[in-house]
C-alpha cells in the first residue's frame, strides 16, 4: 500500500500547513451535531455484526440489556438488575416504562425475540458470541426473564453489553439473512429504544438521526445527529478545519502534534482499551527463528524462559511512547489496562535493561544471538507498524537480529491463524472490560472441549493458568472470580510468552469550546453523551 504511506507523509505536510490556523466557524447549528467518524456500521441490523464501529452506531438507535460504562464496567441498561438463581439460571429484571420509537412498550417478549434472532441473522463478524452461553429464555412476567445457560456462565452479564434489543413487532418479518438488510437499512424494522431515531443511512455514507423525545434516560442534547463516514485521517481533519463537521474521532498522532498549537481546535485524549501484545511461539519447532548464519537451531529459543525475559528487558517502553507514539500511549505491564475486572495491581512495571538482556541471552547459550522474523499489523491501529519497527531495532541491539515485517491485517490474521509466525505483535482490546475475554481466548491452552484458548496461536500452555481460568468461568460470585483472574494474569505475565508493550491512547478533535464529553475506553463516540459547551 504505497498510497497509504504517501498519504501519511502528505498528512504531515497538511498538518504543518494547517497549524497556521484560521478563525474557526461557529457550530453549524447548536441543535445539530455532525460527527466525522473513521468507520461506520455495516448494516443497521444491530444483530448482524460484532464490529466495534457497528456497535457504536447501533448504540444511538438501540439499547443494550446491560450497559457498559465509560470505563467498561457494567451498569444497568434495559435490565435494572441481575443475579444468578442457581448454577445455570440467571434472572434479569427489566426496566419498566421504556418505550420504543414507535410508541410501543418494551417488555420481556422483545428480549427473548432479540436473543433468539441473533443466530438467524448474524454475519461473519459473528454476534452469536453474545448469546453463546444461552440455552433457553423463559419469560416469567413482562419485566422478568430467566435465562438458562449451557453450564455455569459467570460472565453472562458481560456478554450482554452488546446485546441490542429490537422491537419484536417491528422486526418480526425481517429476521432471515435475506430480509434483514432490507427491513433494517430501509427503516421499517429499525425501531429501538435508544436516544435517536433513524432518518436515513447508506453503506459507507451518512447516518442521519433525529432525537427520540421519549428516551428513558431523558432527552438528548441534539435534535439532529449526522455521522459522516470519512475513513481517511487527513480528510477527516480537513473537514473539521473547514467547519463541515463539529467533531472527529481518531486524530492521528502526527496531526495531534500540530493541533496542540492550533487554538481553533480542541483535542481530547482518552485511554484506549487496546494494548500492543507481543507473542512468542512456544512450539517445539517454530518456523521463523534461525541462527544468524541462516542454519536451523536445534531448539526453539523462545521456549527458554531466559530468552523470553531477555526479549522483555530489551524493550524500552518509555521511548516507544515518547518517540514512536508522540506521547499518545502508556507503557503496559499486563494484557489489560489497570482497573479492569481481573487486572492485577501486584504486577510491577516492566524494566528496560539491555545489559541484563544480553547477559541472559548468553546464559541461555545464545551469546551470539539469533535471528527472528517479526510480524505485525501495519494498518489496524494507530502506530502499529511504527512500534513494530521500534521493536526490531531494540531486539537487534541486544543481539537478536530482527527482520521487521509490518503487513496488512488482511495478510496478517489469516497467516497467524495458520500458525505461520514465530514472533508477532498485534493490538488486543478487552472490549468487555473483563479478564475472561482476554485470558480465556489467549492464555488458556487451545482446547475446543472447554471452548477456551481459541486465539492462542503460540501453543502457550500453563496448567496452573488453565485451571484458574476454568475455575473462574464457573465461579458465579464476582469477588472470588476476580481473585482467580488476577492470579491467572500474574502467572501468565510471569511466563512472558505474551509480552505487553504499550497501551494506546486515542484523540478526538472538536471545534474550540464547542462540545464536552468523557472519552470512553472502547473509543465509542456517542452523541447522547456529548454535551454542547455553552
Amino acid at each position: 500500500m504505497t498510497t497509504r504511506r504517501i498519504l501519511a507523509s502528505a498528512a504531515i505536510a497538511l498538518g504543518v500547513a494547517l497549524s497556521a490556523g484560521l478563525a474557526s466557524a461557529p457550530l453549524a447549528s447548536a441543535q445539530t451535531l455532525t460527527v466525522g467518524v473513521r468507520g461506520g456500521p455495516e448494516s443497521l441490523d444491530p444483530h448482524f455484526s460484532a464490529l466495534g464501529s457497528h456497535a457504536e452506531a447501533a448504540k444511538h438507535i438501540y439499547d443494550t440489556l446491560v450497559w457498559s460504562g465509560d470505563d467498561l464496567q457494567i451498569e444497568p441498561g434495559l435490565a435494572t438488575s441481575w443475579k444468578p438463581l442457581d448454577d445455570t439460571t440467571w434472572e434479569f429484571k427489566l426496566r419498566e416504562g421504556v418505550k420504543f420509537h414507535d410508541g410501543s412498550d418494551f417488555d420481556a417478549e422483545d428480549v427473548k425475540f432479540s436473543i433468539e434472532r441473533i443466530p438467524l441473522v448474524s454475519g461473519p463478524t459473528t454476534t452469536t458470541i453474545y448469546v453463546r452461553r444461552v440455552a433457553t429464555v423463559e419469560i416469567v412476567d413482562p419485566h422478568t426473564i430467566h435465562i438458562k445457560t449451557d453450564g455455569p456462565a459467570a460472565t453472562l452479564p458481560y456478554d450482554f453489553v452488546r446485546l441490542f434489543i429490537v422491537s419484536s413487532d417491528a422486526a418480526k418479518d425481517y429476521s432471515t439473512p435475506e430480509t434483514a438488510a432490507a427491513g433494517f437499512n430501509g427503516g421499517p424494522a429499525a425501531v429501538g429504544t435508544g436516544p435517536y431515531k433513524l432518518v436515513s443511512w447508506e453503506p459507507k455514507g451518512d447516518l442521519v438521526l433525529e432525537r427520540f423525545d421519549g428516551y428513558w434516560r431523558g432527552k438528548g442534547p441534539w435534535a439532529k445527529v449526522i455521522r459522516k463516514e470519512m475513513p481517511n485521517d487527513s480528510s477527516r481533519l480537513a473537514a473539521l478545519k473547514a467547519g463541515q463537521v463539529d467533531l472527529i474521532n481518531y486524530v492521528s498522532s502526527i496531526d495531534y502534534l500540530a493541533l496542540q498549537r492550533d487554538p481553533s481546535i480542541d483535542a481530547v485524549v482518552g485511554d484506549s482499551v487496546y494494548i500492543m501484545n507481543l507473542q512468542l511461539d512456544q512450539r517445539v519447532d517454530t518456523p521463523l527463528v534461525r541462527a544468524k548464519d541462516g542454519s536451523k537451531l536445534d531448539k526453539n529459543p523462545l521456549r527458554n524462559p531466559k530468552v523470553r525475559e531477555a526479549i522483555d528487558l530489551a524493550i524500552d517502553r518509555q521511548s516507544m511512547v515518547d518517540i514512536v507514539l508522540e506521547g499518545l500511549g502508556k507503557p503496559a505491564n499486563q494484557m489489560m489496562p489497570p482497573g479492569f475486572f481481573g487486572s492485577s495491581d501486584a504486577i510491577p512495571a516492566r524494566e528496560y535493561d539491555p545489559e541484563q538482556a544480553r547477559k541472559l541471552l548468553a546464559e541461555a547459550g545464545y551469546s551470539d544471538g539469533f535471528e527472528i522474523d517479526l510480524y505485525c499489523t501495519s494498518d489496524r491501529l494507530p502506530g502499529d507498524g511504527a512500534i513494530c519497527q521500534g521493536l526490531g531495532q531494540m531486539f537487534t541491539q541486544v543481539g537478536i537480529k530482527t527482520n521487521v515485517n509490518a503487513v496488512s491485517k488482511t495478510v496478517y490474521f489469516p497467516a497467524q491463524a495458520r500458525l505461520e509466525y514465530s514472533v508477532f505483535m498485534n493490538g488486543w482490546g478487552t472490549l468487555t472490560g473483563e479478564a475472561s475475554y482476554t485470558l480465556g481466548a489467549l492464555a488458556h491452552s487451545n482446547d475446543p472441549d472447554v471452548k477456551l484458548g481459541a486465539f492462542n496461536r503460540i501453543e502457550y500452555k500453563n496448567e496452573t493458568v488453565d485451571q484458574l481460568l476454568e475455575d473462574g468461568a464457573k465461579t458465579l460470585e464476582a469477588e472470588p472470580r476476580r481473585k482467580l483472574y488476577e492470579q491467572a494474569m500474574v502467572e501468565t505475565m510471569a511466563d512472558r510468552a505474551y509480552i505487553p508493550v504499550v497501551q494506546l491512547q486515542t484523540v478526538w478533535g472538536s471545534k474550540a469550546n464547542s462540545v464536552t464529553f468523557q472519552p470512553r475506553f472502547d473509543e465509542d463516540t456517542l452523541a447522547f453523551f456529548i454535551k454542547p459547551k455553552s
Binding site: N185, S235, T410, A441, P448, L452
Partner: protein, 323 residues
Amino acid sequence: MLGFIIQRLLQASVVMAVMSVIVFVGVYAIGNPIEIVIPPDAPQDIRAETIRRFGLDLPLWQQYFIFLSNLVQGDFGRSFIYNMPVLDLIAGRLPATLELVMISILTATVGGVSLGVYAGYRPDSWLSRLIMALSVLGFSVPSFWVGLILILTFAVNLGWLPAGSRGEVVTVFGVGWSFLTLNGLSHILLPALNLAFFKLAMMIRLARAGTREVMLTDTIKFARAAGISEGRILRRHVLKLIAIPIITVFGLELGSTLAFAVVTETIFSWPGVGKLIIDSITVLDRPVMVAYLILTALLFVLINLTVDLVYAVIDPRMRARGA
C-alpha cells in the same frame, strides 16, 4: 459489422471468466476472510460454524462452482460484510462515481483539447508556453497531493467550498444525482477538478502534438489556399484529423477513471465505487471483489467497442476496412 460486435462480446466473456478465476484463487491464497472479521472472543465451535455458514469450508473448486451456477441465474451473491446483494451495493454507489467521472472527463476533454489546439496552432506565443508548462505540472504532480492542496486552499483557508463528501441529491428516474443541486455542485467541484487535472494535461499534450503535425500537412495548405478562414480550418478540419488518438485516450481514460477513481474518492470522502472496492479488499469481501472486477472487465470491453464504432463514424478509411 455485426460479426465484429459478436466477436468482441465473446472475447469479453472469456476475459470475465478468467478474471473471476484469478480473483477467486487470489483471495483464497491470501486466506480465509473469516479470520479477519471474526470477533476475538469467539470460541472454536462458533468459528467453525461461521466458516461453514458462509461456505468457506468447501474446497475452492466447489466454492467457484456454486458461484458460477448462481451467476448464470443472474445472482452475483451477497456481500459478506454488508449482507446486501452485491449488485445493489454497486448500483447504489455507481451514480456518485458516474457523475464525478463524467464531469471531470468532460471538463478535461473540452478544456484540454481547446488549450492544446491553441498551443499547437501558436506554438511560440507566451500563452502556449504557459499552457505547456502547466501540462507538465499536471503530469508530474501526484493527484493525492493536488487533492490535499485543493482542500487546504479552497476549503480550509478560504472556506469557499466543502472539504469533502457528497452534497444534496435529487432523485431523477429513481436515481439520486447531486450535480443537479447547487449544494451538490459545490461538493462535486473540488473532487472533479482533482480528478480532471491529470487528464487535462494529457489531453493538452495530445491535442497540441496532433495539431502541430496536421498544420504542416497539404490538407491545411490547400484549405488556406482555398481561402477558408483560420477558425473554420481549426474547427472543421484540424479537430477532425486529430480526433482519432483523442477518442482512443478518452475511452481508455473513461474506463480507468470509472473503475479506479480511488485516490480522489478517498481524499474527498466521496461515496463512490472506487472506495467500495478498496474497502472490500481490506476485509477480503470476495463477492464484491469478484463482481466488481467482472463488471470492470465488461465496462472496458464495451468502451473499447464503442470507441471502435466511433472511429468508423469519424474516419471513412476505417469504415471501408471494417465492413
